[in-house]
Symmetry: C3
Subunit: 347 residues, 3 copies
Amino acid sequence: MTKTNPGNFFEDFKVGQVLRHATPRTVTEGDRAAYGALYPTRFAVPSSVEFAASVGLSPAPVEELVAFHIAFGKTVPDVSLNAVANLGYAECRFHRPVVTGDTISTQSEVIGLKQNSNGKTGVVYVRSTATNQRGEIVLDWARWVMVRKRDADAPAPEPVVPQLAPFVDADDLVVPAGLDFNAYDFAAAGEPHRWDDYEVGEKIDHVDGVTLTDPEHMLATRLWQNTAKVHFSTEARPDGTRLVYGGHVISLARALSFNGLANAQLIAAINAGAHTAPALAGDTVYAWSEVLDKAAPAAWEGSGVGAIRLRLVATKGRDESMTLRGDDGRYAPGVLLDLDCWALVPR
Amino acid sequence: MTKTNPGNFFEDFKVGQVLRHATPRTVTEGDRAAYGALYPTRFAVPSSVEFAASVGLSPAPVEELVAFHIAFGKTVPDVSLNAVANLGYAECRFHRPVVTGDTISTQSEVIGLKQNSNGKTGVVYVRSTATNQRGEIVLDWARWVMVRKRDADAPAPEPVVPQLAPFVDADDLVVPAGLDFNAYDFAAAGEPHRWDDYEVGEKIDHVDGVTLTDPEHMLATRLWQNTAKVHFSTEARPDGTRLVYGGHVISLARALSFNGLANAQLIAAINAGAHTAPALAGDTVYAWSEVLDKAAPAAWEGSGVGAIRLRLVATKGRDESMTLRGDDGRYAPGVLLDLDCWALVPR
Amino acid sequence: MTKTNPGNFFEDFKVGQVLRHATPRTVTEGDRAAYGALYPTRFAVPSSVEFAASVGLSPAPVEELVAFHIAFGKTVPDVSLNAVANLGYAECRFHRPVVTGDTISTQSEVIGLKQNSNGKTGVVYVRSTATNQRGEIVLDWARWVMVRKRDADAPAPEPVVPQLAPFVDADDLVVPAGLDFNAYDFAAAGEPHRWDDYEVGEKIDHVDGVTLTDPEHMLATRLWQNTAKVHFSTEARPDGTRLVYGGHVISLARALSFNGLANAQLIAAINAGAHTAPALAGDTVYAWSEVLDKAAPAAWEGSGVGAIRLRLVATKGRDESMTLRGDDGRYAPGVLLDLDCWALVPR
């Protein structure tokens, strides 16, 4: 019997099945430093224990995307080792900040299955939940991925397609316990812009670009224990390129967005995400954002916290026109990432 | 007088001489994160403080190879700065886990000397011992290396060739204090395979490949304060390539071996190691293992711990036939590393 | 209104103006490890908590250059985003060691302004001060930089050129509280050379070279939250190269200087620094030092501490002749960095 993990094929998944993923992973100050070396992030909360404490968060959390990447990476060996394509994610909520010393474990429940008409592949829907060492939920999200069948003759399962929300309702966003933006130090944070200053429909060109290199995206992807071979080996894809992990582009765009969104301190939810083109070493990545919505739920009264819903777009090459789609409705050339998220900002 | 270190030449070594190496080095959580960024490791014990505690190890140790690389790196300026070739090592035992905060110091005793017939070089045998801040032995090993003579006319020393064991006797392996695999969580660890499931003679193809890059091996090698110039400078070797530190290949192969050996949680000994070909940036490294032996010393009764002796082979390019040597008895083309070690697994 | 930071132009600066820089940054063990992966440093004090404690420093400080780079990086968005050239720095003093957990904040005061005769640019002089979370000064330094005007027609300010000392007076150097080199362990530190062994005028060739790579200098520069785009994007400079951050060359030269200056444990001051040529990926960097002066202020009596003033020179390609300037008085070809600093060594 082979001892290596062949991964699950489409016919191995059953609706209701729960997959407990290896390996639990403790977050450390080393991760915080590595994250800061890999991405040009300058957000004050994860950068400074003093600033974090001044807004009620002590110990200081690491960036939400650290938790996201770790949790996501764990699902790869069980969910997407035989994936043809990552189709999307939705309903990702960050329930509580992750601090150093926390150990993250992840499990997934299969919530949908639909074989493709070609009979060779199918779409698997999972809801994944990451918990800390106290069993508290850190984040959860839904994801759907196209997976190969081992045996094209295996019977198709009853199709089950879950209803996923187009975005997380603002009333369902979690404001971390203790978060209070009333004494927010705008000078220390780097920009004066408040919740009131952002308008729905406003677009922000984040200006700076970063050229991707293979060693950097490999270091990042390994850090999250994501072992999908297309990221690491020049022998895994026909053209010999190493595909950049989509999460690397997310983190890069998020970090670049500091310039204009320095006060979007915390990510509360990822509503949707599409990786619209492959990113490769040599590509210079830029970012722009659009304010899609704003919310200040009554329950947050007094905290000084508001939410803005952002479309965060990463592009290959700078597009000062900030065009998402062409006249044909398709993504404009150069668009690498279209991410819809909620961020928490001071009012 | 020059103030820079010229290193020791063959005639500088005397049998019985003790070399105290600089620089003591404290291990931190930063090292754990850096290791995880550099190698695709997912072993549960060094990855999770919770998992480590569940098997009796608290605080959580770092990977044994972190200690090995640090200790080994310290010996370079005194032992192998003028080396022509690293010929081998043997009798490497890990005496106790290294945890963050431990400070590692290393010293070496010259245990053998033999001038080569060409009169220009000689083989130096040392036994190196790494200790922690309490003076406890962390690991020790023997190593032999071919070193240049400063002066070809210097007289040859009396040849002394130490008798080194072909492998560490299972009864001499150290099970870390407190280690107890009875409540081992196989799902969290990632694979169901126990000591009983591995058979002597069994081979495991670890499937995945990683393409080497110069920045990554340099970051790794520096982290261990190993300053041998062939790893860092394009001006050190005639062809302008930077030679990958052999230990980088060991760590990479060990990490790749997770896929099939996820429960080989701890390395207890390195019996022998041969770096059979140079590794360079651009090479895609794969690994396979062979189970050479199994042991469960009576003294370990009740701990749930067994040992398997493994040949861990790294190759340039994947060799699904897992061929170590050709019909001529020489290493097969593509073999980079032939490492013989003992690992501790749950019974 | 645009929300991104356009940076300050020459006419935005006023003498006496105080700029409070974002983002406060907490130093962690992750930074220490990252520093050790990026630079071949082996100095015993920042490497070992045990060694540091043995000379009176507990907890163990990180390298002074960690603090320097973090503090310097903070000034970039406000001071040098529209810089044409970094002209120099002076009077940099390290007031107290930075230990992990310290949070560094930086502010700058404009101390001079002088428009250039072309009317398009001007020189801005600032004194920057980095403080820790207790408001204690960690380091301060003066710097002058040539900055573009937004509007060439803006009136020239009254020229103010501050008088800066050619070097910090030895009596003004700060010996960290508690530092005591009387029980200094030279074997652990790696070299036997004391203060007495260094002679004014002596030059030391540090021998080893390191070839620069783009990923490494980008990781380093990001770690310090320095976001100057010429370091990160192939689209920022006409020839598509990424300029290596000058501080990367300083840290590299400092680390290489271990070989011959292993006991120059702490940097007490940077008197002057000139980046005399751009450094790029592919360049192999070497270093040499010249002892410019020695001092042992009476106030240090009994501490076992002396100071040596060093010229630390980084070169592209090794120059065993250690030539700083040609007969024409200009920097010799290959010189990248000419740094004048004070270091603390055991007497």
